[in-house]
Every structure is written in C-alpha cells, then in structure tokens.
C-alpha cells in the first residue's frame, strides 16, 4: 500500500518568515504534485515534478523532488498571509494508477 506522509501537520508562522514542508514515502512515484487548498474549496495545482532531483520555482515557492523520487519538499520564502492554506502533496506511481494524497500541512501566516 502506497502512503504519503507530510510534515509538519500544522505550522503557524509570522509574515516574512521562511518555511519548509515535507512529503515522504517509501514508494517511488513517477510524478508528484503539490496542491494548495483553502477552506471549503477544491485543491489548486501548484506544480508537478517528474525527474529525480528536479527543482522548480514558482515566485517565492521552491519545490524539490528527491533523487530517488520518494520524497519532496516545498520551501516558501518570506511567507505572506495569502500563503495560508492546506498544502497537499499527491503522487502517482504509473500509468492508470490512482493518485495518492498526503494528509496535508496546514499553514497559517500571521500578519
């Protein structure tokens, strides 16, 4: 059974601070996605990483896929209140395989 773990579960920081959240698994994934979800809304896709060691940047967000394609991290620089939300990682292991979601990291950025 494939499982994705995310840490920390909850994170509350001041505006302007940096943070990193992690997504880990014992399984290898062909691709991994990061989503952000706000209360009462569906998740919104932020990025997809597919190559081991890949690093992608989206403004103040930096995503990294582990060399072995089993883990990933999301680093936010100078967090802003608008970054508040539930950050979900999701992985797929191959063609026609269901996408597995982690439990999420709930981020709160205090002004």
């Amino acid at each position: 059974t494939q499982l994705l773990e995310q840490s920390p579960q909850f994170l509350s920081i001041q505006e302007g601070e940096n943070l990193t959240v992690y997504c880990n698994s014992s399984s290898v994934f062909s691709s991994l996605q990061w989503y952000r979800q706000e209360p009462g809304e569906g998740p919104v896709l932020l990025v997809t990483v597919v190559t081991g060691g890949e690093v992608k940047k989206l403004k103040r967000l930096t995503f990294q896929f582990g060399d072995a394609r089993k883990d990933s991290s999301l680093h936010i620089t100078a967090a802003q209140p608008g970054d508040t939300g539930l950050y979900l990682c999701a992985g797929a292991s191959g063609s026609y395989d269901k996408v597995i979601f982690g439990p999420g990291t709930s981020l709160s950025v205090i002004p």
Binding site: L4, Q6, S30, S31, Q33, Y35, G40, E41, G42, P43, V44, L45, T48, L88, A90, A92, G94, S95, Y96, D97, K98, V99, I100, F101, G102, P103, G104
Partner: protein, 113 residues
C-alpha cells in the same frame, strides 16, 4: 473557459437515504476522478473514469458507485447513507487517464444527519 463544476455545492441528507453528486469536467478533458475529503485529512480516492470506463477504484464499499456519460460528465452515487459519509466530495478532471495533473472542482459538502 469554465473549470470543473460540481453540483450541488451543499447537501443535507438523512441516514439511509441515497445521494447523487454531479460533475462536469473541463472541456476536452476525458478523465474524471472522485475523492472524499473528511475534515482535517487529505482527499481519499474513490473512482476514476476515462472514456466512460472505470479505470480505478479506491477502498470504498459497494454503496458507492459512479458512471461517466458520453459528454464526459460524471455522477457519484451513494446508497444507504451513513453519518460517516459526511465529507467534502471532490471531482477532478484531467486530459488523460494518467491523471497526474488534476484540476478540481469546488466540491460538494455532504452532511448526513
């Protein structure tokens, strides 16, 4: 271009009743997946449909069923509702069956009382 649309947005049902949730994917997307998200948890995969055929099924009882129509829209049906079925039900569409990049609707909030 419209995104993924789900209806209804909110629903209250009584234990034992039946419910049908609907989803229209992004135009051109042929794959629809359904997820259940309980408060405080990540989405749990229920079904994936591609070209009107079931391509994947999660660990949910037979009370849960779904289908995809020729226009690629989809319905999720849940029979004999239990209190534990209360959740946000999310529909996601993607171009292909390998739904590695999914676009989600806003969800249907189902409350079973």
């Amino acid at each position: 271009d419209a995104g993924v649309t789900q209806s209804p947005t909110h629903l209250i049902k009584t234990r034992g009743q039946h419910v049908t949730l609907r989803c229209s994917p992004i135009s051109g997307h042929k794959s629809v997946s359904w997820y259940q998200q309980v408060l405080g948890q990540g989405p749990q995969f229920i079904f994936q449909y591609y070209e009107k055929e079931e391509r994947g099924r999660g660990n949910f009882p037979d009370r849960f069923s779904a289908r995809q129509f020729p226009n690629y829209s989809s319905e999720l049906n849940v029979n004999a509702l239990l209190l534990g079925d209360s959740a946000l039900y999310l529909c996601a569409s993607s171009l292909w069956a390998q739904n590695t990049e999914a676009f989600f609707g806003q969800g249907t909030r189902l409350t079973v009382v």
